[in-house]
């Protein structure tokens, strides 16, 4: 058998993974990336051929929630992600080595693959008092992220903490916590916020990089457009109830049992950009709103401060219950986000207003 050290094909053969399953995985990734299905063979070819880049997973001010998200994912399974798409050389929560041994393997990879390895950062980095609020192996996270991140091919900031500071940066930010982008210059940083981030999006980013040879297009907040390009509210399965003015008024009431809109209970879906309603969690079975809890806006910067209290309605909303109001809310917020998003909001507002008219026109024509 020809040896293809590092290639995905050999990893697949070793693990006895059927080609059909591999192509299913490629198809799933192509779908997450919102690419047409004709890209599936291209994705497969790209993953099969090249050597797997070493990946260093660094944890700083974190709760390991993003690690849990990766470990508990079934599609892709952790094996698919770790063994096939990437070569995970360092991850404190799952690696066998500890102490000096662990740090040595980390620094060996940094030396040997300078400018080639990928870094995933989980957790924020404290900057106050010289960065003493987080140390690994006697060195501050501040020092480590600049050295290891600064020599990487790219950094993926997994979760809202690594992307924007997250919970440690919530007021009054006792440790001066910041996200990776505030500390590392000259290296691409892809933000995958979410509390936690969705592993499907992490894998899709890597697959995109391997297939196209470039990182996916991002918005002004460094988030890939394929995953953070549309509002939760616009893709929400409960949207029809919002449009119909059917709201949950109290936990466990008639509307809650019926699965009505959670807007009045504090849902932040109208100002949050994420593909949760499409990709979902637990192997695509459910997601927070599907389970009956409003969105807290966890993929938005500073959501711990700007979206809380989580059970209060969106601020400065005079009324609600009709489509126009929701889109005004969306537009008001979207205007502060980016031009592209603003366009999207406008488009959805126009679409929302236009659809009933179009529909009645069609009916008239049919008659």
């Amino acid at each position: 058998m020809p040896t293809e050290i590092g290639g995905l094909k050999s990893a697949l053969i070793r693990r006895g993974m059927a080609r059909r399953d591999f192509l299913k995985f490629c198809a799933a990734m192509t779908a997450v990336l919102a690419l047409p299905s004709r890209y599936v063979p291209r994705v497969a070819a790209a993953l099969e051929g090249a050597a797997r880049p070493p990946l260093l997973w660094l944890e700083y001010q974190d709760c390991a929630g993003n690690t849990e998200s990766v470990l508990r994912a079934s599609k892709p399974t952790v094996a698919e992600l770790v063994l096939d798409v990437l070569s995970l050389d360092y991850h404190e929560t799952v690696m066998a080595a500890a102490g000096h041994q662990a740090e040595k393997s980390l620094m060996d990879t940094v030396e040997a693959y300078k400018g080639q390895y990928l870094v995933v950062v989980e957790g924020s980095i404290p900057t106050k008092d010289g960065g003493i609020y987080c140390t690994v192996g006697g060195r501050t996270a501040l020092d480590l992220v600049q050295e290891i991140g600064g020599n990487a091919a790219a950094i993926i900031a997994a979760g809202t903490c690594a992307a924007y500071g997250g919970i440690p940066a919530a007021a009054p930010n006792p440790t001066g916590a910041v996200g990776v982008k505030d500390l590392v210059n000259g290296v691409p940083v892809i933000n995958l916020p979410g509390c936690p981030m969705n592993v499907q999006n992490l894998t899709a980013v890597v697959v995109h990089y391997r297939t196209v040879g470039a990182w996916p297009a991002t918005d002004q907040r460094g988030r890939p457009m394929f995953a953070y390009g549309s509002r939760i509210h616009d893709d929400c399965e409960r949207r029809a109830h919002f449009d119909a003015g059917q709201f949950v008024e109290d936990w466990g009431d008639h509307g809650h049992r019926k699965g009505w809109c959670l807007y009045k209970m504090g849902c932040k879906g109208p100002e949050t950009f994420h593909n949760c309603p499409i990709v979902r969690w637990n192997d695509g079975t459910s997601w927070p709103i599907g389970a009956g809890h409003g969105c807290v806006g966890c993929s938005e910067p500073n959501f711990w401060d700007t979206m809380s209290p989580f059970y209060e309605r969106l601020p400065n909303v005079p009324g609600f219950g009709v489509e126009a109001t929701a889109d005004k809310v969306g537009l008001g917020i979207v205007a502060g986000v980016t031009g592209v998003f603003a366009l999207h909001g406008v488009a959805s507002a126009i679409r929302a207003k236009a659809q009933p008219v179009n529909r009645s026109k069609v009916e008239v024509e049919e008659e």
Binding site: T93, G99, I167, A170, P172, F310
Partner: protein, 59 residues
């Protein structure tokens, strides 16, 4: 007399450093330190109590 330090302790959630004093093959003293602090208690002050679970879940 030797002092050993294991930092980071892996396969745990969080950041931990363990130091041990070893005399004639026996551990005579040991210290452990959590090497990461976020100040969640401080961050929680003054917030809506209904939100507390969501913050503390991240510990």
């Amino acid at each position: 007399m030797a002092k050993i330090a294991i930092d980071p302790v892996t396969r745990i959630e969080g950041h931990l450093r363990v130091e041990a004093q070893v005399d004639d093959g026996q551990v005579t003293d040991a210290w452990s330190s959590a090497t990461m602090w976020r100040g969640i208690e401080t961050i929680l002050q003054g917030r809506d109590p209904r939100d507390a679970w969501y913050f503390t879940q991240r510990i």
